[in-house]
Symmetry: C2
Subunit: 344 residues, 2 copies
């Protein structure tokens, strides 16, 4: 195994899948694991075999890649515009497709594309319940869009979707559901998302399903927010010490092109990953192919040529930087899986 | 052209190549453009045709990819350890290879690998002249390593290398050169690097060659430090507005997986790229596939479906996220070039 390489502990992956699927089963939530994290057909299969209802994707391209491996239920969480609408509609001929909208602007294009392919696409109205990203801003706007969808050929209003689910999301979504149902339209699905709040999804009374991605691998941010314990963090970037220029400094061959320069969300401590073998050391800076490690002076530190395993701050963009994952059980190599939908 | 896509203005690329090659010619510096930025055979060819002496690479894998397209002179700026030493030695059978060392630890392996392939590998001693990354810490250590290299079969001490070249680098390198030459060993090459200080390379009296990568494309950091003017910045990430959730907010489909979350080095203003069409707007946050744009309220702002072009903060990791570059002259598509050595 050359370095830098992405390694995946399959035992930890199975524990994470089992724990989160168990939570969803306990609370009667349909689980739609988010494929943006792993972009892998093999891990998607493990998630479905454990009881997932379908897979969530961020892009049409991810959905195309997974549909090509036989995944039959895909939710694409970005509005499909232009040629993406046509690709999504074609995909709906081979899989059950759900997508999102937060305005009527993209509605006509998607409706035309669905009609051209003679398919129905389920639409969840994306709701900004306080996260400050995309989504309608008020429950009344969700109701207006639901009504517009009811009149659109080829599209089917299926419910509501939010990400993340901050405090207040429960009331927001409940009000939207009440308003829409008062107008005679059932709200079958209410999809909430995000690993940090995943195990609080059942506190959102109207939620019927959960989307989460990072939970399957864990990362430094997950350890910090408590969503994945360190012993279940499955991914490491394997690196080699290529230089020991000074007593308190080691240089590894993993930088921003294999770890990403993302901070650990919520922690933001200026550190770019945790090194298993050097708990007191700090990965204080990244160039593209260099990681600069500040040693704590406790012992001689690692020698040139020594291998270190680095827990990334944010595992999703880190995985996206690699073509394949080296899969092991307890350190024994069991497979090399492609990052199928990388850069899609 | 789907979004997000990486676009390259070929006219601007040619201006950047011509300007920087002209600078090197004027000051009799051999130019070794750094391929880590573009990872492209086509752009490497433009650089060589303009007069570059060879290409610099960060990894053995980049060098392998470029050697496979006929590049005959390659400098690999990371020490080659383990199987990398063997690959580098094999590469030296098809191209002139220079590599770096900053200690004797990796010397034996590389020497053995070179002997096994019956090649000579030129070695530059990497010097930490104040940048705080890899490299020997003192001119006397450079001299010791030069002496050790003189006695190593298969390796040839060729000179010194530093990155970046902070104030003080000129004296540091001059002292190292004096010490080594006083012991009877000529120092043929002194290689300095980095786009921000590229046009000051001639102020380092002993410098014989320049390595620079980012200069060929430019980015937001280059505009800030003055190394590439905005009108010569060649790369944009083309994005689509996928949501206009609020009056002062637009969401684009380019996030950290197409732009990187790197700050603009030296600027660090919390902005993740500059939008050509919206000079007053601020790209204030990135998710993986979402960019959150804060609008300035000057006019209605862009509509859903509108396309925007984003100048990245740091172009090298941005290019590495894409499989291909859409090449144009004045907006007219002229080619689609693979990012040949992406994730290598």
């Amino acid at each position: 195994v050359d370095t830098p390489s992405l390694t995946v502990d399959l035992d930890a992956v199975e524990r994470n899948i089992s724990r989160t699927q168990g939570y969803c089963d306990e609370h009667s939530l349909a689980f739609h694991p988010h494929a943006k994290t792993h972009k892998s057909a093999a891990i998607a299969r493990l998630q479905l075999d454990a009881g997932a209802a379908g897979l969530a994707c961020q892009t049409v391209e991810e959905a195309e890649a997974l549909a090509g491996t036989g995944v039959a239920d895909l939710t694409v969480c970005l509005p499909a515009l232009g040629t993406r609408a046509e690709r999504l509609a074609r995909l709906a001929r081979v899989a059950r497709i759900t997508s999102v909208l937060d305005s009527t602007v993209a509605l006509d294009g998607l409706s035309r594309a669905a009609q051209a392919q003679e398919v129905k696409i389920d639409i969840l109205v994306e709701c900004d319940t306080g996260g400050g990203r995309a989504g309608v801003q008020h429950p009344s706007q969700a109701a207006e869009l639901a009504a517009a969808l009811g009149a659109a050929a080829g599209l089917n209003f299926a419910g509501l979707l939010t990400h993340p689910a901050p405090p207040g999301a429960a009331e927001w979504l409940a009000e939207a559901k009440r308003t829409i149902e008062a107008a005679g339209t059932p709200v079958d699905r209410v999809s909430v998302g995000g690993t940090p709040t995943a195990t609080k999804a059942h506190e959102i009374e109207v939620a019927t399903e959960l989307r989460a991605g990072t939970y399957v691998f864990g990362d430094r941010a997950c350890v910090h927010d408590g969503s994945v314990p360190l012993e279940d963090c499955a991914v490491r970037v394997l690196a080699t010490v290529v230089s020991r220029p000074a007593e308190n400094r080691a240089i590894i061959d993993a930088g921003s092109k294999s770890l990403t320069s993302d901070p650990a969300f919520g922690l933001d401590d200026g550190v770019f990953g945790a090194i298993d073998q050097l708990p007191g050391a700090r990965l204080v800076a990244l160039s593209e192919e260099h990681g600069i490690v500040e040693l704590d002076g406790d012992g001689p530190g690692p020698g040139v040529g020594e291998r270190l395993s680095v827990l990334p701050n944010h595992v999703c963009p880190a995985v996206n930087l690699h073509d394949r994952m080296v899969v092991h059980r307890g350190g024994d190599l069991v497979a090399t899986w492609p990052v199928l939908a990388r850069r899609r």
